[in-house]
């Protein structure tokens, strides 16, 4: 695939005054806009790279391949395609939720390309695997989510877009967000959900060779603290940081604390 084609396919956005690339990978259910509250803090000293996975946001839905995107490996392909297209090296990869495992897969495949991994709310397996592993969910819970998605997609196509468009107090969101955010094709979203919540990447963790920060929220029902601790134990030499932030999206609910944690990981005290 030609590099330009990748940039269009994955709706790649590049900005910032620095040279060191900082690549942000969004999680399931959203698109690159989820990083909007965090990226300004790193614009001055980094080259910010944002993208949408194929099937999400404003990616090229025509490029969607159910085979490829039926597994997290396919999403890792997308992530590496973007790295190749921009010839990114020494990359700081910040990944949220399911993207944490996509990042692990990508980093294991091309470790030399990445200098740091920041995993926000990672979980290598969402479904419990007794005895010994608690992911937090039973399969039936995930089915409940899929049903919820089904039910809302019926209405969303009709109701959601106008709702966003008439948002008077946030004009900066603009029309482009309206068209993209959470308006994913329901079939694609369902397949992404299955690839995400039925994945098991526990065996990939010990193979990580890139310095890694695990950002764990205090009260995250999607990625419970025990899971964050598990990830930290399994990735050699990783750093675990438990945030005061609750929920699963600290970069949106508590952007300042999230920024601080990332910054301290990239520039440890005393290192200047």
């Amino acid at each position: 695939m030609r590099h330009d084609d990748v940039l269009v396919r994955n709706n790649v956005q590049v900005f910032g005054a620095g040279t060191r690339p900082m690549l942000f990978a969004h999680g399931f259910g959203c698109d690159q806009n989820m990083w909007r509250l965090v990226t300004p803090a790193f614009e001055d000293d980094h080259r910010i790279v944002l993208f949408d996975y194929v099937g999400s946001g404003r990616s090229d839905l025509g490029a969607y391949d159910p085979e490829r995107y039926g597994r997290l490996d396919g999403y890792a392909d997308d992530l590496l395609d973007v790295c190749h297209a921009l010839d990114l090296r020494d990359v700081v990869l910040v990944a949220h939720s399911v993207s944490s495992m996509v990042a692990v897969l990508a980093a294991n495949r091309e470790p030399e390309r990445f200098s740091r991994l920041v995993l926000v709310g990672p979980s290598p397996r969402y479904v419990n695997d007794p005895p010994g592993y608690v992911g937090g969910f039973e399969r039936a819970d995930i089915e409940g989510l899929l049903e919820m998605m089904d039910r809302n997609f019926i209405g969303w196509a009709n109701f959601l877009a106008p709702a966003i468009m008439k948002n008077p107090d946030r004009p900066e969101l603009g029309e482009e967000l309206t068209a993209s955010f959470c308006s994913t094709d329901p079939v694609i979203a369902r397949r992404f959900a299955e690839a995400t919540f039925f994945a098991d990447n526990r065996d990939d963790l010990p193979r990580v060779r890139v310095p890694t920060l695990v950002l764990q929220c205090s009260d995250d029902m999607i990625a419970p603290t025990e899971v964050g601790e598990y990830v930290h134990r399994q990735i050699p030499g990783s750093t675990l940081r438990v945030l005061e932030a609750t929920g699963h999206c600290p970069h949106m609910s508590h952007p300042e604390e999230t920024i601080r944690a990332i910054r301290e990981f990239l520039h440890p005290a005393g290192s200047g």
Binding site: C30, S97, D141, L160, R170, L173, C249
Partner: protein, 428 residues
Amino acid sequence: MDELLNTAPCGFLGFGDDGTVGLANDTLLEMLGYGREEVVGRHVEHILTVGSRIFYQTHLFPLLRLHGRAEEIFLLLRARSGESVGVLANAVRRERGGRAVYDCVVMRVRERQKFEDELLRARRVAEQARAELEAQALEMELQQQQLEEQTAELELAGEELRVINEELIEKAEEAEQLRAAAEEANRAKSTFLAVMSHELRTPLNAIAGYLQILEMGIHGPVTDAQREALGRIDRSQRHLLRLINDVLNLARIEAGRVDYLVEDVPVGEVVAAVTPMVEPQYASKGVALAAEVAPDLVARADHEKVQQVLLNLLSNAVKFTPAGGRVGVEAVRSPDAPDRLLLRVRDTGTGIPPDKLEAVFQPFVQVDVSRTRSAQGTGLGLAISRDLARGMGGDLTAESTPGEGSTFTLALPLAPEVRPGAGADGAG
């Protein structure tokens, strides 16, 4: 304000960025069966089912946080009893008292949920049907591919057959050419033989004529010694003439220049006419000759040629039967073919090996070359006889047991009036 909220017909819920609930109206608490303290101060997730919690974290919260509002979101709330309660939620993000709060209104949707359930069920059925159709289409495509492959194989086989057929046609043409060439060569040979025989007979006639003149003493008296020499010349001349006649006959037959005068031929008459002609030969060699002919047997044939064939067979038989042997002639109706009669000549001679039985009918062939000298002959007799038999619509065949003797059978068409069922019962 609180009073107004509490009496509203829909549930109301306020929570912050961190999800902590700050406000819940009575309607909501009654809807779910919670006490106020069980909701306020706790994370909003506690009143969501597990599926709704994930949905909230992955979809609803990002939407509210980044877009400031959401409308008509379907959620399943978890009642205190554990029961799921379906609601539609509208929510707005506002700044209040220096911090962000989400004001959320929820409405129970029993009826709507039922319709949506049916819609979802219908969609799943449709999707399943589509998947099945697709599978069937795939199957059909596969079958079509197989058919195409088979067709291609058949075409290939057809092509091979066509090639083989062409080769066969070519071979047949070659064979036809070879056959035509062979026939042409045979015709040329026959013509040559006919011409040569004629040319040879002319000087022989002169020899015979002058022999006669010498014998008659026209040119002076003939001594006994001279007369004996003339006798030898005469015998040699006659022998040579016989040979030439044989060759000429065969050539004529093969050249198709023999005419058959077909008539009713009483077989008894033929036998009666021929046996006296060979009797001297049999008598001098000491071979017995016996004839047995079924009465009223009439062939439809050329009288003269039947006689010629029988004569040839009897001459052959005596040649190859040692002294003291026996030759029998018999004529019967064919047991196999009602319209045929069989004229057999059976000898007690040396016999013919089975692999040579057909060869004896070939021109210029005698079974044992060493015997040719003693038995004399051109070797054309049987070839000519078979050609004549076939020329009359009959056949000439041989059977033999080496050491015991041979049987030559001349098959001929029966005259219609003596055939069984022909109506006439012949002579009484």
